[in-house]
């Protein structure tokens, strides 16, 4: 969890710095006849401080490239990234006088980009607070994400081996005690017939439902849902002789594991997908910020 008891000092520092910035900004904004601007010395100060915070936040990616470097724990850098990055937004807003600038102009683009980055960052923090706990509860068979495809191919092989074993089972001639109708009477179904019928049912179920479900890209299937899958397996179970039930249970476990891998993939994408917005946009923001600084200083 990114926000917990250990984050308290960072929250306090952030709140205090925000309060100080606001306390400085309000009298400054009131004193300006035409409203606050980024080119005033107060505005530039806010800009410098905000850019410093942004730069610090950016340094996290550098720190992650030199992991063994003893320049503070990665956790410390991450906390700094979250809280100072968040604080940079109001400070930059104060720099801009709480305005985004003319539509489609440089500052307009910068502010919107920054807003999207902050929002994606906040979403990321929320997801990182929620999703790991959810994964812990819902994915008892969680595996290494990169190995998912390998495990899926293992599951395919295992399932096909089980079905082949069932198909190779040669029933002995004999009377099927379980096939005697309720209330007595003589069964017309010999054990061998029951076995051969069961083999057919299991093979059909495997080919039509299980095999497609175990593919790397599983399509629409009733096995996707735990409840409908359980119902499907129960229905097949009633058509099988008792000796095949264990094999069916094994297949059901395999299907459950495959479903869990699919669920893990979704969770993984959720947990890391936001970075696809956050990271490139952050780099774009930094490049645009540099251009903005150069242009501002050049034409000030």
């Amino acid at each position: 969890m990114l926000i917990d008891r250990q984050s308290r000092p960072w929250i306090v520092i952030t709140v205090v710095l925000f309060a100080v910035a606001t306390a400085l900004y309000v009298p400054y904004a009131r004193s300006q006849l035409h409203g606050p601007t980024g080119s005033s010395w107060q505005g530039i100060t806010f800009g410098i401080v905000g850019t410093a915070f942004m730069t610090f936040a950016m340094l996290l990616s550098f720190k992650k490239r030199v992991r063994t470097m003893r320049i503070g724990r990665a956790y410390w850098w991450t906390q700094g990234h979250v809280w100072l990055g968040l604080l940079a937004y109001p400070v930059i807003l104060y720099h801009a006088g709480l305005r985004f600038g003319p539509a489609f102009g440089m500052t307009w683009w910068l502010m919107w980009l920054f807003t999207v980055i902050i929002v994606s960052g906040v979403v990321g923090v929320i997801l990182q607070n929620i999703v790991p706990t959810k994964m812990l509860r819902e994915l008892p068979l969680e595996t290494i994400y990169e190995q998912a495809e390998h495990i899926i191919s293992g599951l395919q092989a295992e399932a096909s081996e089980i079905v082949a074993r069932v198909a190779a089972d040669q029933p002995e001639e004999g009377f099927d005690r379980d096939a005697i109708p309720a209330g007595g009477g003589t069964s017309t179904l010999t054990h061998a017939t029951a076995v051969s019928k069961g083999q057919q049912v299991l093979q059909d179920f495997y080919r039509s439902e299980i095999q497609p479900f175990l593919q790397p890209r599983m399509g629409q299937s009733r096995l996707v849902s735990l409840t409908t899958a359980a119902a499907a397996f129960d229905s097949v179970r009633t058509s099988l002789p008792r000796e095949f039930h264990e094999h069916l249970n094994d297949l059901q476990s395999i299907v459950d594991e495959r479903r869990q891998i699919a669920h893990q993939k979704k969770m993984h994408h959720l947990l890391h997908g936001w970075l696809l917005f956050h990271v490139p946009l952050s780099f774009a923001l930094m490049i645009l910020s540099v251009i903005h600084i150069v242009v501002a200083l050049r034409y000030l």
Binding site: L2, R70, H272
Partner: protein, 770 residues
């Protein structure tokens, strides 16, 4: 102390003898899904007693050396060829008794030949029995025709019964050729039930009797053709059969490698060196195993086998000399801080024990290898062995990698290469065993004993004395060697295989104390302390051979050499103290999962708080960055509560990584940490064995050309987590994996301390809820 065996006074053929009332035999017992062998005392039979005093009684349905995997097949007493007279107080039994079944009693008078008390000639009676059996038997049967070793016909020839007086059977009892590799001739069967018992001994239980009277015969699965029965073709029945009733039919021979011509049965039996041993094996078995033995010739410099390869064959050096060597840089991996200020990281390098002596580093200079005669030494990684030596026995029997490379040292090297089934059968023959034992005593015992550091100073005189007194004891897989609580009566040195040492507790739990391999020893604690009682169980994990030094010799040794005594005493005390500490830890804990996962015993666990971990793998990358790009950590493992106990060495209670190391280079230190000795050959067996994937193979050191594939390869060494010790500035500083975790999810903790607190917390919560 062993209770003294009860002695019996008996008279055999007029001579008085005093013999023990019982003899030890091995029995297999099944416990749940596992089985183990135990030694039990059974009453001596007349046959055993006579044999022990040198009186031979002929037997046919019984064969005392008949066993399956070391478990003797019980006697049946159905053929009556061993008929003898047994009398008590001058009164004989009404009929002659079967010597193989009848137990001896105190004061018994036994007659194996000559006139019985009732005037009947015992030899003639026996002759009549053989004659009657012969009447039902084709003469010669398939076996006698091909190999001249049908036991019934050999007896008949010995007794001069060339043609029985009884009318032979008019109608054949039939044949069964439904099995592709085993042929059944019911006419040659004397229903001795050896096959039935052999089949039952391997728990197949396919063969039984059918019919009655004249029509009695053996049957498979209640009279199915053998080929359609549940027979698994193990061939034990064929090996057990004394006649030509069950013979090899060809068809399912082992597949030899290309470019070799396997030897056929006759060639095997005529071999100048090994021939006499093959003659002691059933020709049926040899026939069935044709393709499992072949001869190869090597010129000087040619490689016979390579270290680290898996092989299913053993090599008998028929002539010439070979070099055995391990091609490896001696040393262990040490990751060292190479400076660089903020940008510092560690680099790995090989250090020998002289350069970097780790705590509890073994001071042995001996490297155990898979050869009957030699071990290697640290200063000299090459040994020469010659004619009559067996190499690769452990790799063949126990499926472990080759411990060394073997190369022809002369131009005339002839090697007999054999597959496991033949080696296994050879080892069961008395002649081969005696030969191997003799060579071991003559050539290897002294070196083997001196390879143990505490015995290094033993003088030649004492070793010579031991040479004739020690016993080489083969032990089958899962067979107990010593049992906790038993009186200590011997000291053991391991010659081959792996031994598991474990303590059993009253609640049914067991704790593995150690796995021992070639060159290691056990049994000294019971002999030196604890009132002469075994303090732990020692069980063979695979095919094991131990050198047994009896208590009296051991006591002489420690009496004559006080220095050895004091060293052994120190080791015994230290082992006892460790065992006691572990037992105390175990008894204080309750949660099975906690114990099963070995969390309580781990000195330094890397745990990931899964409520915080975002699966970013920064810890893994940091570990790789700190160790030359090779991670020693995988973000996977067992879960306990909300924690993932990741795969980095955790000093388990059952360190399976130690099982199967062909050179015994991985072991546990006193503090349970794993240490990999310098002579690791990089075969990767420990990495495969570790159930948690905590051992990594680190490419390091010299490169070499793989002669099999022609590719360049780099030598590898096994490595476990080093906690980045050399990179941390202070003792309390975090290793790279923890330091690089951006979410404070990774922690290094002391297993017992951390989880005890957790358990106390959860118990408190549970109590509140209840």
């Amino acid at each position: 102390m062993n209770a003294p065996a009860k002695m019996l006074n008996i008279r055999i053929d007029g001579k008085d003898h005093t013999i023990p009332a019982t003899k030890p035999v091995t029995r297999t017992i099944v416990e749940g899904n596992s089985e183990r062998s135990i030694e039990v005392q059974v009453p001596q039979t007349i046959y055993d007693a006579a044999k022990s005093v040198g009186v031979e009684i002929p037997v046919l349905c019984h064969r005392d050396q008949l066993n399956v995997d070391g478990t003797p097949i019980p006697q049946a007493g159905v053929c009556r060829v061993c008929a003898v007279e047994a009398a008590m107080n001058g009164r004989a039994d009404r009929v002659f008794v079967a010597a193989c079944c009848r137990e001896v009693a105190d004061g018994m008078e036994i007659k194996t030949q000559g006139k019985a008390l009732n005037g009947v000639d015992i030899g003639e009676t026996r002759k009549t029995i053989v004659e009657m059996l012969l009447a039902e038997h084709p003469q010669p049967c398939t076996r006698h025709r091909e190999h001249r070793d049908c036991e019934l016909e050999l007896y008949a020839e010995k007794m001069g019964l060339l043609k029985p007086n009884f009318t032979p059977r008019a109608v054949s009892k039939g044949t069964d050729f439904s099995n592709p590799s085993i042929a059944i001739d019911h006419s040659a069967c004397i229903v001795c039930e050896r096959c039935v018992r052999a089949c039952a001994a391997v728990e197949n239980n396919v063969i039984g009797r059918m019919g009655k009277g004249y029509g009695t015969a053996i049957s498979f699965d209640n009279n199915k053709p053998m080929g359609q029965s549940s027979c698994v073709n193990c061939g034990e029945c064929m090996v057990a059969c004394p006649t030509g009733a069950i013979t090899y039919a060809g068809g399912v021979a082992p597949t030899p490698p290309p470019n070799v011509t396997p030897l056929v049965t006759d060639e095997l039996r005529k071999m100048p060196t090994l021939g006499r041993f093959f003659k002691a094996i059933s020709p049926n078995f040899l026939k069935r195993s044709e393709g499992a033995v072949w001869v190869r010739m090597f010129k000087k410099g040619e490689v016979i086998c390579r270290q680290g390869d898996f092989g299913s064959t053993a090599f008998y050096i028929d002539s010439g000399e070979v070099d055995i060597y391990i091609d490896v840089d001696l040393g262990h991996i040490r990751t060292k801080n190479n400076g660089g200020g903020f940008f510092k990281r560690m680099t790995s390098a090989l250090f020998s024990k002289d350069q970097d002596n780790r705590s509890e580093e073994r001071d042995s200079k001996s490297i155990p290898i898979d050869s009957s005669g030699v071990d290697l030494e640290y200063g000299k990684l090459l040994a020469k062995v010659g004619e009559g030596e067996l190499i690769g026995e452990a790799a063949c029997l126990n499926f472990q990698p080759r411990s060394a490379t073997v190369r022809a040292a002369s131009d005339d090297v002839i090697v007999v290469e054999m597959l496991r089934n033949v080696l296994d059968m050879l080892r069961k023959t008395r002649e081969f065993r005696a030969d191997m034992e003799r060579k071991y005593r003559e050539r290897a015992l002294a070196n083997h004993l001196r390879s143990v550091p505490i015995f290094k100073e033993l003088p030649d005189a004492f070793i010579n004395r031991l040479r004739d007194r020690v016993k080489l004891v083969p032990v089958e897989p899962n067979e107990p060697i010593v049992k906790q609580g038993d009186p200590a009566d011997a000291f053991y040195l391991i010659r081959m295989g792996h031994v598991k040492v474990y303590e059993s507790y009253a609640d049914g739990q067991a704790m593995v104390l150690s796995y021992l391999s070639r060159g290691q020893y056990f049994g000294e604690i019971g002999l030196m302390t604890a009132g002469g009682v075994r303090t732990a169980n020692c069980t063979a994990l695979d095919h094991v051979e131990v050198v047994r030094i009896d208590k009296t010799d051991f006591e002489d040794m420690i009496r004559l050499f006080p220095d050895i005594k004091s060293k052994l005493q120190a080791i015994a005390d230290a082992r006892l103290a460790e065992n006691h500490a572990r037992a105390t830890q175990t008894r204080t804990l309750s949660l099975p999962q906690y114990i099963e996962q070995g969390l309580y015993i781990a000195q330094s666990l890397l745990i990931l708080d899964l409520e915080k971990c975002t699966r970013c793998d920064e810890c893994v990358r940091a570990c790789a960055q700190a160790h030359d790009g090779i991670t020693r950590l995988v973000r996977d493992g067992l879960r306990f509560d909300k924690y993932l106990v990741t795969t980095s060495c955790r000093s388990c209670r059952d360190p399976l990584c130690m099982v199967g190391c062909p050179v015994g280079s991985i072991r546990r230190k006193g503090d349970l940490e794993i240490i990999i000795e310098d002579h690791c050959i990089g075969c990767g067996r420990c990495a495969e064995q570790c159930p948690y994937g905590n051992i990594n193979m680190h490419p390091i050191g010299k490169e070499y050309r793989d002669e099999a594939t022609g590719e360049m390869r780099q030598q590898r060494k096994a490595a476990v987590c080093d906690l980045c010790t050399d990179m941390c500035l202070t003792e309390n500083e975090d290793p790279a994996c923890v330091y690089a975790c951006p979410h404070d999810a990774a922690h290094r903790v002391d297993g017992q301390k951390f989880f005890d607190e957790l358990l106390i917390g959860s118990r408190a919560v549970q109590e509140k809820i209840s």
